[in-house]
């Protein structure tokens, strides 16, 4: 029993710890503060360790961790506040996407990382999370779909809308400068 528990801990550690930095970064973008992000990550690891026996080998461990973290966030005080103020209207997912980016704005924003970080912090959290998963952490649509619990088609449309929202915020910021 002890051997089995230890070997399970070892397996979990080998799979989970390489994700630590990206999960912390993700948590920080969701939660905002360092303290809250640390609580979030620690709770995620505790929950994941407890539920690791139910994790099926061969399925996506990374998406599983993100899912636990995300669900933990959504039930946290900040998460409840965010989900209460951001309506996730399914119909809105299918809105047409128009592209307001120009090579100039992209060039300018590339020169200013702070501006992009500001814009990322301003986009609604359900957009921010898909941008982080896809662009920052290079997760596949399937991983994102598994992590969030939505169909792949919704991942694609949400990503498009998230990118557009980010570009709009950036354009607004550049216009004001």
């Amino acid at each position: 029993m002890r051997v089995s528990e230890n070997s399970q801990r070892d397996s979990f550690e080998q799979l989970a710890m390489p994700l630590f930095n990206e999960l912390y970064n993700f948590a920080r973008w969701l939660a905002g503060s360092r303290e809250e992000a640390e609580d979030l990550v620690q709770e995620t690891y505790v929950k994941a360790l407890k539920g690791f026996s139910s994790f099926r080998t061969g399925t996506n461990f990374r998406a599983w961790m993100y899912r636990i973290l995300r669900n933990t966030f959504l039930t946290s005080r900040t998460g409840l506040k965010v989900s209460g103020t951001v309506p996730l209207d399914p119909a809105a997912e299918d809105l047409a996407v128009t592209d307001s980016a120009t090579p100039e704005t992209i060039f300018l924003t590339r020169m200013n990382q702070d501006l992009i970080q500001e814009a990322l912090a301003e986009v609604p959290v359900h957009f921010r999370e898909v941008l982080l998963m896809c662009d920052a952490n290079e997760m596949t649509y399937q991983d994102i779909a598994d992590a969030i619990g939505i169909p792949i088609g919704t991942v694609m449309s949400r990503l498009s809308r998230a990118r557009k929202a980010l570009r709009d915020i950036l354009s607004g910021k550049l216009d004001r400068k």
């Binding site: 973008w29 992009i116 920052a136 649509y141």
Partner: protein, 249 residues
């Protein structure tokens, strides 16, 4: 297919999520279409910019270690003893510090008392009127102190000893009144100071061992609620002999 249809697929293409055949088709189109190539470039730049900006936060090493220990199952085993060890260490350091400070303060006060006693003795030796009551008779000297100091004491019989009583005076140690008795042994003068014990530092040695202080020999002890000091430049045996007489008085 017109460019608008191609452009709709660019994000999915850059995310690496188009089916393989569609990827190859779009690849081929971009190579021959400057407009779509520019669009791809724009999206690539944006994607890279987001990637770079989004990787903003890194966890504190201490936090990582904490979670690592939690995951490895070491926290419960380690944290409590570590916590206890840290607490015990802190308490130990505190106790040592308090004891150290207290010891240094006591030691400092003891040294201060010896220095005062030596000063009083030197003052007496240098004085033209070293005593207020001049008498070799203990029955004269002892009553003289009555009413001048808030305690009484016994003086030894000096017959058949080498010591003689010169006289006495009222003195003060740290504002506490006491008696100073001057004895003579050969050419040496010895001062005997008597104070209430409650005014003396608790760390003063209560022993007959001779202490050297600024070339003087000093003996001190407590007896009957009084603190005695015998100080002088006489031989240690003489100082010890006078001390024994006083103790036996």
């Amino acid at each position: 297919m017109d460019c608008d249809r191609w452009k709709e697929q660019i994000e999915t293409y850059l995310d690496g999520e188009l089916p393989e055949s569609a990827m190859r088709d779009l690849d081929a189109h971009v190579r021959s279409c400057p407009s779509c190539a520019a669009e791809v470039l724009t999206h690539v730049q944006m994607k890279r910019a987001i990637q770079s900006a989004a990787k903003r936060f890194t966890p504190e090493p201490a936090f990582r270690n904490r979670v690592q220990e939690l995951v490895a199952g070491k926290q419960r085993k380690r944290s409590t003893p570590a916590w206890q060890l840290a607490t015990a260490t802190a308490i130990f350091i505190l106790v040592v510090l308090v004891a150290g400070v207290s010891f240094l303060r006591q030691r400092s006060r003891t040294e201060h008392v010896f220095a005062e006693i030596a000063d009083l003795h030197v003052t007496t030796l240098a004085s033209n009127n070293p005593v207020d009551v001049i008498s070799s008779d203990r029955h004269t000297v002892k009553p003289w102190f009555a009413g001048r100091i808030p305690f009484t004491f016994n003086l030894p019989e000096l017959q058949n000893s080498q010591f003689s009583l010169v006289g006495g005076r009222v003195t003060y140690l740290e504002q506490a009144p006491g008696a100073e008795l001057i004895y003579q042994v050969r050419q040496h003068r010895i001062s005997v100071f008597i104070f209430p014990e409650r005014f003396a530092p608790r760390s003063l040695p209560d022993t007959s061992a001779l202490k050297r202080f600024e070339s003087f020999g000093v003996l001190t002890w407590a007896q009957g609620g009084l603190r005695y000091f015998v100080i002088g430049d006489a031989a240690a045996a003489d100082l010890q002999g006078l001390a024994n007489l006083l103790k036996a008085a």
